[in-house]
């Protein structure tokens, strides 16, 4: 607005501080009236230098660092990391530990999906639904707290096993909680598919076709809501998922409603998985011995986080510190789909589309943009940042 050449371009900035985003990220939507004509994103506000920082810490310290890549899907991050490290060290995790990891991962999926559902309802201006969902979400938060003693960063994992055990009382509590959650989520499934005012905001909005979803490389529920069969738990089962196979949940529609439906059905699927795991919980040890130094080598580790495929690349040089760890999180894969689909939509739908992929920006920031006082923007690419990091630690 300030300069003349921008006169006909009206840009609405969203973020880094904006009520629609709980995290600092910057989007610029060019609008014509209420219609969005172009969209750009500026990432990097949450770049903390975790990958570089991990090279400076021991394998065990890194477990806690990677757990804090993202507070919402903390378990899956530490689980993927420890699976990779265990693979490098050639250690097999006891079956009971595997089952408990699955248990925590599925409880976390329920909590994450319900959290997203509530936030998305809030974006649609449906605060009552938001409050109801978050009230019911406390059930699963309580279960996670009973299991691990913590509400958010559970630190269930250890290298070579798990830290917590499941007692028979906890099994009862979890079963009881699952009953409650299943009942409530079936109700919410009815709400999102029948409530007229909510459907006005979701049905036919933000459609990602199957082809688009494939080309843009979307993962997780976003891809599955467009009918793309991408689900690591099914495509490449890991850990206890080999014994308790998950079912893939697909919806061919690709609009926002489909993303709601897929996620709620996944919650129901998680409830089923948790029940089956509890029924067949194997007895035995919780941990195995883990060497302090990990054998030199490199590996990858993939899991299905609540938001999609989570990918760790781990390289060891035989010391007690990793040589290089790379994390690819689902949000960075899904980001481009937001920028593509938001064009042509109403400004009012943008928060919904943005939240539709369940963004977790704290996971994905890889680049820093510094703005100097004289107005120039200097972009620090990954190479530059890495160079800076190397110099910083020297």
């Amino acid at each position: 607005m300030a300069t003349t050449e921008k006169q006909d371009r009206f840009i609405v900035p969203i973020g880094p501080q904006h009520p629609a985003l709980k995290e600092p990220e910057h989007f610029e939507f060019t609008v014509d009236g209420e219609i969005v004509t172009a969209a750009t994103a500026r990432l990097g506000y949450a770049h903390r230098g975790i990958e570089k920082g991990s090279e400076n810490r021991t394998w065990i310290q890194d477990l806690y660092l990677f757990e804090r890549v993202c507070g919402i899907c903390s378990h899956i991050h530490s689980m993927t990391y420890s699976r990779g490290v265990e693979k490098l060290a050639g250690v097999t995790v006891p079956p009971r530990a595997k089952s408990i990891r699955l248990l925590a991962a599925e409880l976390e999926r329920i909590h994450s999906h319900m959290l997203w559902f509530g936030v998305a309802a809030h974006e649609a201006g449906f605060d009552t639904l938001f409050m109801y969902i978050w009230r019911d979400r406390e059930v699963v938060m309580d279960l996670l707290e009973t299991l691990s003693g913590n509400r958010v960063n559970y630190s269930v994992n250890l290298l070579g096993g798990v830290k917590v055990d499941v007692t028979p009382e906890q099994v009862d509590a979890i079963r009881h909680g699952m009953d409650k959650l299943e009942k409530r989520n079936k109700h919410y499934l009815k709400v999102v598919t029948t409530d007229k005012s909510f459907l006005n905001r979701t049905r036919g909005i933000g459609i990602i076709t199957k082809e688009q979803a494939k080309i843009l490389g979307t993962v997780g529920p976003t891809a599955r809501a467009s009918g793309v069969e991408r689900e690591i738990r099914v495509n490449a089962p890991y850990g206890a998922y080999k014994d308790y196979p998950a079912n893939i949940i697909l919806d061919p529609t690709g609009d926002l409603e489909a993303r709601f439906v897929v996620r709620i059905k996944e919650v129901l699927e998680s409830c089923r998985l948790i029940r089956e795991t509890l029924d067949g919980l194997p007895e035995g040890e919780l941990t195995t011995r883990m060497p302090r130094r990990i054998k030199a080598g490199e590996t990858i580790s993939r899991t299905e986080a609540p938001r999609g495929e989570l990918f760790y690349y781990i390289k060891s040089n035989g010391t007690d510190k990793p040589e290089r760890i790379h994390v690819r999180t689902p949000t960075i894969c899904n980001m481009s789909s937001v920028l593509v689909t938001s064009v042509g939509h109403q400004l009012a739908d943008i928060p919904m589309i943005l939240v539709g992929i369940d963004p977790c920006f704290s996971c994905n920031d890889r680049m820093v943009v510094l703005r100097h006082s004289h107005g120039d923007t200097e972009e620090w690419t990954w190479e530059r940042l890495r160079q800076h990091g190397i110099e910083f630690y020297r």
Binding site: I11, V12, F126, L347
Partner: protein
């Protein structure tokens, strides 16, 4: 003596201080009810008063690039409009002033606040305010005509455009809520649109445009706009309760009716997802205006025949 009484009427009762206290009370009831509907405890009874005093005591920031005079004057004009409108409405039983045609004046004075809000949003260079202002004014053009027509329904049957005459008619006949149900519903929803309550809160949709026209306001300006809305709530509810729910027979019964309306209002607020601005326009012009016009026609024909 007469003058003193006039001044007292304007400053203390039935308008002025009494009105502000009532506005705060209604605001609290509304917030509390919405919180209860959402399974929460909700704010304490003195919450609106604390909010008001705090905002008044806060620093008022005038952002760069606005006309400081307009920026500070608009909230005052808006609040003054709402307070003046209250002079013609018998909130505590009797109105301070009354003359034939005061219904129209009241309704237009109520719109003054919305227009001020729109102007306040459009004089700043903040993008959220601008979009909010456009939406505010768009919404004004949507509900204004149906809302007016809905309130004119009782005026037509009473044969007068004086508020007190209409109320006298309403207390002497069957509740107009039964004979003019469409008018009642449209008036209630129109009031929600006027006050930008959910689901008609597109002009200040928090998750899209932060706080709409009020984004740049802090301290006193915000307090005055907020107070103006609280007073509009009182006026709107009073008009609807007296017109459609059997007049102003007894103060206690009247307040019970108003709180009943507030109960419905809070329920409607918590039942729906926010409407997009194009959906708001569609809703009003496709259904609201047509329905209220149909009722209007039926009424005129009825009046002509009998």
């Amino acid at each position: 003596m007469k003058q003193l009484q006039n001044i007292l009427e304007i400053l203390i009762f039935p308008s002025g201080l009494f009105l502000i206290v009532l506005g705060l009370a209604y605001n609290w009831i509304d917030r509390k009810l919405v919180a209860r509907y959402q399974n929460r405890i909700g704010p304490r009874w003195f919450q609106p008063a604390a909010d008001l005093f705090k905002l008044l005591a806060n620093e008022e920031i005038v952002p760069d690039g606005v006309n400081p005079f307009l920026f500070t004057a608009l909230p005052m004009v808006g609040l003054a409009g709402a307070l003046t409108a209250a002079l013609y409405v018998p909130i505590g039983g009797v109105a301070a002033y009354s003359y034939s045609g005061d219904l129209i004046v009241t309704i237009f004075l109520l719109s003054l606040l919305t227009i001020c809000l729109g102007l306040a949003g459009s004089i700043t260079i903040d993008r959220f305010s601008l979009i909010g202002a456009v939406r505010t004014l768009t919404q004004l053009f949507c509900y204004e005509a149906p809302f007016l027509l809905a309130l004119l329904g009782p005026a037509i049957v009473a044969g007068s455009w004086r508020i007190s005459d209409i109320i006298a008619y309403a207390s002497g006949h069957t509740w107009l809520f039964i004979t003019q149900p469409i008018g009642f519903v449209i008036a209630m929803i129109g009031l929600m649109g006027k006050l930008e309550l959910p689901p008609f809160d597109a002009p200040e949709a928090e998750t899209e445009i932060v706080a709409g026209p009020l984004t740049e306001y802090s301290g006193r300006g915000l307090a005055l706009f907020w107070l103006g809305k609280a007073i509009e709530l009182v006026i709107g509810l009073t008009l609807i309760a007296t017109f459609f729910l059997g007049g102003m027979s007894n103060l206690l019964v009247f307040f019970a009716k108003t709180i009943g309306l507030l109960l419905i209002l809070a329920g409607l607020q918590s039942l729906f997802a926010r409407l997009r601005i194009d959906q708001v326009v569609g809703l009003w012009w496709r259904y609201g205006a047509i329905l209220v016009l149909a009722q209007f026609l039926v009424m005129i024909v009825w009046k002509g025949v009998f």
